[in-house]
Point group: C2
Chain length 343, copies 2
């Protein structure tokens, strides 16, 4: 029985610092707006146990904190590892964090504002905890173990409802003044274009997110140009998910294919801007949309980006699909804990 369930602290307060070498296990926890996932890894980042749980963000920060503690406890139980063998824990947050202070600056999906999560967790978990942004965690996971392994500069882009981005440079997650940057979804691609959720106009998100694609596809379905969509999802944006888009393309809905490819090309133009600025060697595309149609999407982004960079940059970068799926986030969290606490 894991003691956290009794509220007496998950980990014994032993003299663990002196025996780090023997206790080289790590935990990653990816906190999402609707669910959380914890995984226990050994020193080679082989997964030994895991647990998913609903987040229930509306119940407030203390309730979520205790759900995190229970999820970590369950993952340890699943792994058969002794709690004392855990050296550190990385927690991925859907929003910007202050890593030094251990504070979640903002998490819109959880309605959190300046939550001192590390302090809250440390009173239950007698182990070091580090926070990082969830997109940064995913890019770091792909950098350490996936599609961007050993890149000097790895740029990750995850199109979904919005478009998230992150960058690992020389083994470090690039964090700007705001502690989480790479808001590539809000680069302006169409001056005076459509209104974005952020209040600006013509942001990349307004033309290339899954939501933007769904809206265009719904219009096409309404006009009778996308029969598979009309049949499977109607014109309800929430139902036009990545899998439905892929099905429609596979079934021959040409309008859907053109809309997705056009969105990918617009993303490619934003990628070109990022190449001019950072000259990444690898650009990893991830998320449900990419997973549902990796070849079509990666090819469209890559060729559009190549057409939009200066000649001397054409051969400097590769665009690839993410390899680790949902594991990228938890792996990145655990590996960041290792980088932070193992030195």
């Amino acid at each position: 029985m894991i003691s956290a369930r009794k509220g007496t602290g998950l980990f014994p307060k032993d003299n663990w610092m002196s025996t780090v070498e023997k206790k080289n296990h790590w935990i990653g926890l990816d906190l999402g707006g609707t669910k959380m996932l914890a995984t226990v890894y050994d020193a080679d980042f082989k997964p030994l146990g895991r647990k998913r749980r609903r987040t229930k963000g509306t119940e407030g920060a203390e309730s979520v904190t205790s759900r995190i503690v229970r999820t970590i406890g369950d993952a340890i139980e699943d792994s058969k590892v002794e709690p004392e063998q855990i050296v550190g824990i990385g927690v991925g947050i859907p929003g910007p964090v202050d890593q030094e202070k251990g504070i979640v600056l903002e998490a819109v999906n959880l309605n959190w504002d300046n939550v001192p999560l590390v302090k809250l967790l440390r009173s239950e978990l007698n182990r070091p905890v580090v926070l990082l942004n969830d997109v940064d965690a995913g890019v770091y996971g792909e950098y350490r173990f996936g599609a961007a392994k050993s890149a000097r500069t790895a740029l990750g882009i995850f199109p979904g409802t919005g478009i998230g981005g992150g960058c690992v440079y020389d083994g470090q997650i690039i964090r700007g003044k705001r502690n989480s940057c790479m808001e590539i979804g809000h680069i302006c691609v169409t001056p005076n274009g459509q209104l974005c959720g952020c209040g600006l106009r013509g942001c990349l998100e307004t033309e290339a997110s899954r939501l933007a694609i769904a809206a265009e596809v719904a219009k096409a379905a309404y006009r009778g140009e996308a029969p598979t969509i009309l049949n499977e999802a109607g014109t309800t944006l929430a139902d036009i998910r990545s899998g439905v888009l892929a099905d429609a393309i596979a079934a021959g809905d040409k309008a859907v294919q053109r809309i997705v490819q056009r969105a990918a090309r617009v993303l490619g133009i934003a990628v070109a801007s990022s190449v001019h600025m950072l000259c990444p060697d690898i650009i990893v595309l991830g998320g449900g949309l990419v997973e549902a149609m990796p070849e079509l999407y990666v090819e469209a982004v890559s060729s559009a980006a190549r057409k939009a960079v200066m000649p001397s940059f054409v051969d400097t970068f590769k665009v690839v699909a993410a390899k680790l799926g949902d594991d990228a986030g938890v792996l990145g969290c655990a590996a960041w804990a290792e980088k932070t606490f193992a030195d």
Copy 2:
């Protein structure tokens, strides 16, 4: 008499490595397309001696190399420092370099292509030499000693004939796969806009460089809307220099002021993209155009950038004018030599 002039090597081949502490002087050399500048600094980066010389790039890499050696020799002579007191030399190059291999990859102004400059210099200068891009050197100089002192992320932008950029993050010059990045001048600001020298369309340079401004101002002068310009420079682009633009604005040529402010606003929009990606705390604007009208220019860039970023980024950055002028480059070179060789 400096022995380099006799071709026998500038520095004695002594056992200098063991006595680095006593010999803590550094040299920066900024190699431009038309002239070079070398400065000798003490350990506190106080300048002790300097020398300018024409580059004469058309005479080839070996000739330029020997001019560099002589210029460094003259600067040492001017400084009254013993050659043995120099620990290392940083050389700024107008183009991308491979720092590890010590090669100038390309320098269009010098017609250089893959020149092994460090090897060439090392046979004459018995001291460690490191190459860096000249814009990177300028940004690093401002980061160490000027307007961007102690920024976590310092972005430098230098509008001239083109628009150069560089970024220092956590004390490191960010270099991408191509070894020199931050080509902010080639971010697309106007889809399908004017043709750029790089072959793309609508690059920032086509709308916001000094050259782009000069072309617009020449049109205004031709139409009779810029009498001071017509009087001082006519409609010849090469004569419409930064100082002339500043004079015309001071004399009340409203059209010139509007053209410069519009270019600065377009630059501000590109700055906003860089803020979304890197979230720099300080953005330094430098070069002749900025020096000629710092207040007008910085204010226009800053307010345009602030209008074009997401609300949560509005207060994260400062836009400032460079402080060090031409010294930024040589200082940055010398300080980068210190960072490279003093550890």
